[in-house]
Amino acid sequence: MTWTPTPYRVATRTVETHDTVTLALRPVAESLPAFLPGQFAMIYAHGVGEIPISISAIPGDGTLVHTIRAVGAVSKALHDAEPGTVLGVRGPFGTAWRLDGVEDLLVVAGGIGLAPLRPVLGHPSKHTLLIAGARTPQDLLYQAELTQLSDVDTVLTVDHGDDDWQGRVGFVTEPLASVPLDPERTTALLCGPEPMMRFCARTLLGRGVPAERIQVSLERNMQCGAGLCGHCQLGPLLLCREGPVTGYPVAEPLLLAKEL
């Protein structure tokens, strides 16, 4: 493990919502190994700090694509990085979404949780259903792109609609409870706030999807990315190593423990 970041330059900056942008990063010289969907990078803003950011697209040409929501000092600095800015990147870190042998893929995302799931939406599973929730229509990520995805059925739902909103108003568990799905064939990938993942997982268990075929992406404070700093512990897990993507049978008791 190295603490030394590899320089990447911001190639493009796409404004997604009022507080979220997507940065495409190109290596200045050397590049990092390829990322898998679900893995994350530690991205450093000069002089401000370093935070974990999931990979949110894998174009295959060595470009790193990250969607960043400004929620703190470092994410604000990264959010504000204009094209040309040099950022430091370390990675890839963590576990990937397990997609081997997937038949029907069910992807449930809440808020910025859609970003780590975006790379799996091109997965050649037999059938992909995406249920994505957001606060308002203006907070929904990748809207134009989502409507153009082939082979993906998409249900978009918001907490608060507006006059122009043609999608759904409600929480993701509502369509999740009523969409047609074959529990024998479904693999579910969940990413969003912890309560959202817990509720979704329970809805899926109620529909007969086995816990073993539910994966969640967990988050804790991360500083090193290699199990050295101790910050990302969630019970027995070092989430930078054994996460972020975790099977629900392992995650469930940990998510139910208070202040773990």
Partner: protein, 153 residues
């Protein structure tokens, strides 16, 4: 138009009903299709039916001056629309408008009550289905109260 059984058989909502029970339910229902903009009911109106949306989308709203009709909730495929027929005074509490081309099973709730009274086993199953749907709606609404997706900064 009478209801094709394949529509009801495919609904997760009715999964726990036997084929015969679903057929009984179909007997008190009819299929309707609605154009976007169709007003299904208004607050205060007599609540004497409910809908199971098969495809499309219906929005539930409340009139809030001066904001006008505020959308609270959408009802999509496989979901149940309309509860006020269950309890007095049998008046709609909210309004509902179709927002995309919608196909729905419209249930005659008077006849449904009669069915449940005549066959307590079916009545019990129907109660469970209603509670399940209601609980799911209640829990989802509570989670929305958490405002989970807000920016914490």
């Amino acid at each position: 138009m009478t209801i094709p059984m394949t529509d009801l058989d495919a609904l997760p909502l009715l999964m726990n009903l036997s084929h015969t029970q679903r057929a009984a339910l179909a007997g008190v229902s009819r299929i309707e299709t609605y154009e976007p903009g169709t007003r299904l009911f208004d607050e205060g109106g007599l609540a004497d039916q409910c809908w199971v949306v098969l495809s499309g989308c219906v929005m539930i709203d409340a009139a809030v001056p001066p904001r006008g009709r505020v959308t609270l909730q959408s009802i999509g495929p496989g979901e149940l629309l309309g509860w006020s027929w269950l309890v007095p005074p049998y008046r709609w509490h909210f309004g509902a408008t179709v927002v995309s081309p919608t196909r729905a099973a419209v249930v005659d709730t008077g006849a449904l009550r009669q069915l449940a009274d005549d066959d307590p086993a079916l009545g019990y199953q129907l109660s469970l289905i209603l509670i399940d749907a209601l609980l799911n709606r209640l829990q989802a609404t509570r989670i929305r109260l958490l405002d989970l997706y807000r920016n914490p900064s």
